[in-house]
Amino acid sequence: MTTLRASGGLEFAPGVRKREVAASTVGEAIDSIGGAFRERVVENGAIKRFVVVFVNGEAAALDTRLAADDEVTIVPAVSGG
């Protein structure tokens, strides 16, 4: 199973910021959660403007492939380093 984490005002369901899913791509993982969460992060077949997805700390897109022990982080874009 792949671990999905959401943060910064994004959550999978009220109060839920961690989910385990079986999926072969980032897009499939987001689809498997679906609902309001998917609407907040995906638009016209791409990640929305203010959202960033990382797999094990590396920037990813909807077609990025996933392995079973990967950790996917879905967060609003921030800055300031």
């Binding site: 990382f54 982080t73 380093g81």
Partner: protein, 412 residues
């Protein structure tokens, strides 16, 4: 109950929210910014009152988003007058060049302005740990302000950070965690960890307050110039947040009639090896992530500048421009500033100096303008960026010294 002194407003959809430890609009996830109640401020804030404040950014407490400035975590960031750069100005053919020198802040970078506000806010909210993702400068600033405030600190740094930069951070007592990959990898982990572990992450859940600290760049500049705006400011760009704050700061002063003069032109500086904002500005398109970072200016090395589009908008609206400069130009910029003005800056500062040189050559910065060059960090942060070879030793005789210096021997 009195109305809050300010609200958090979404830069994207303009929805307004009461102050809270959140950085994102709950409607569209856009970034939140502090918006003050201007009518109340106009009645209470005057040049005279601000001039009586402490000799730091806390002089500007009425324009900072905190409840009680007496509880400020104030190590003494900012608050100094600009330095007139006659030698560098003459070298570049500029009539009036000034330097805002943040290389002499408490932890030797401009980050202290923002961190001072974020640390104050964290303590106000009862948090016990201050954290950040950092390319080096912010780590030191967070660790120092946390130490002073009695807070624990955790800093997540990218894999390739200069080790010598972290000696300082470690001395302040921070827990340092090195994260594989570049800045973005450390940053996303800080975002998750902040929420899951209840930390105040200065550029995440404290971000709206943190960036207000950088508005004081504009406030110190205007006050130092006799409450007038400069014609042109040149400022480095990493994520774009401080350049945006610089512009916001001048706007607020003008909205409050605290400063005379038009909106200054703002021009940006990036290393050619990571210049997504300059590319977007030149091409007239949105900022896209930079593909492969290759620069010695690590403190500007951010591939996805989250405030990049805002920086582009600010630059364009002000009539400014931007320049991307090579590593060789950056090193030459460091040497030029040090050898003309006695200010030793890090590669980010060298980038800004080199960009000024380019912008003068292009006629963007004009010789008759009142120009301010923002120097944001100290050269001792990354001294190995400047090539240097120690000369071999000489015998302790005057003739040997003359020979080493190429001086003609004077015979009696």
């Amino acid at each position: 109950m009195t109305a809050p002194r300010f609200l958090l407003v979404c830069r994207h959809c303009h929805a307004a929210f009461p102050p809270a430890l959140t950085a994102h609009c709950e409607k569209c996830l856009g970034p939140l910014e502090v918006r003050y109640e201007l009518d109340a401020l106009r009645e209470s804030v005057t040049r005279e009152r601000l001039s009586r404040g402490p000799p730091s950014i806390w002089r500007w407490a009425p324009l900072l988003p905190v409840e009680d400035p007496d509880n400020a975590v104030d190590l003494g960031a900012g608050g100094r007058p600009l330095k007139r750069a006659k030698n560098l100005g003459a070298r570049l053919g500029l009539r009036e060049l000034w330097i805002l020198d943040d290389s002499v802040n408490p932890t030797y970078s401009f980050k202290d302005r923002a961190t001072s506000v974020a640390a104050t806010k964290a303590r106000e909210a009862g948090l016990t740990t201050l954290a950040c993702a950092s390319t080096g400068n912010l780590a030191a600033s967070v660790a120092a302000h946390a130490a002073s405030a009695g807070l624990a600190s955790v800093v997540l740094v990218p894999e390739n950070v200069e080790p010598e930069k972290l000696v300082q951070t470690a001395a302040y007592g921070a827990r340092i965690v090195r994260v594989k990959g570049a800045y973005d990898a450390a940053n996303q982990l800080a975002q998750v960890a902040g929420e899951e572990r209840g930390w105040g992450v200065v550029n995440v859940n404290l971000r709206a307050f943190y960036t207000e600290g950088s508005c004081t760049l504009a406030y110190d500049t205007a006050r130092s110039l006799g409450w007038e705006t400069p014609d042109h400011v040149v400022h480095p760009i990493a994520a774009g947040a401080s350049l945006a704050a610089l512009g916001r700061g001048f706007d607020l002063l003008r909205d409050l009639d605290l400063v005379d003069g038009p909106r200054p032109r703002i021009s940006g500086a990036q290393p050619a090896g990571v210049s997504p904002v300059v590319r977007a500005l030149d091409a007239g398109e949105p900022v896209r992530p930079w593909e492969r970072i290759d620069t010695l200016a690590h403190s500007l090395a951010i591939a996805r500048p989250a405030d990049g589009d805002e920086a582009v908008d600010r630059i364009r609206a002000s009539g400014g421009s931007a320049a991307a400069v090579t590593d060789d130009e950056i090193v030459a910029g460091i040497r030029l500033l040090a050898s003309t003005e006695g200010i030793f800056t890090e590669p980010a500062g060298g980038t800004t100096v080199a960009a000024l040189v380019r912008l003068v050559e292009r006629g963007v910065v004009r010789s008759d303008e009142r120009v301010v060059l923002n120097i944001t960090g100290n050269g001792l942060k990354a001294p190995s960026a400047v090539p240097f070879a120690l000369p071999g030793p000489i015998p302790g005789r005057l003739s040997a010294l003359d020979a080493a210096l190429g001086l003609a021997e004077v015979t009696a």
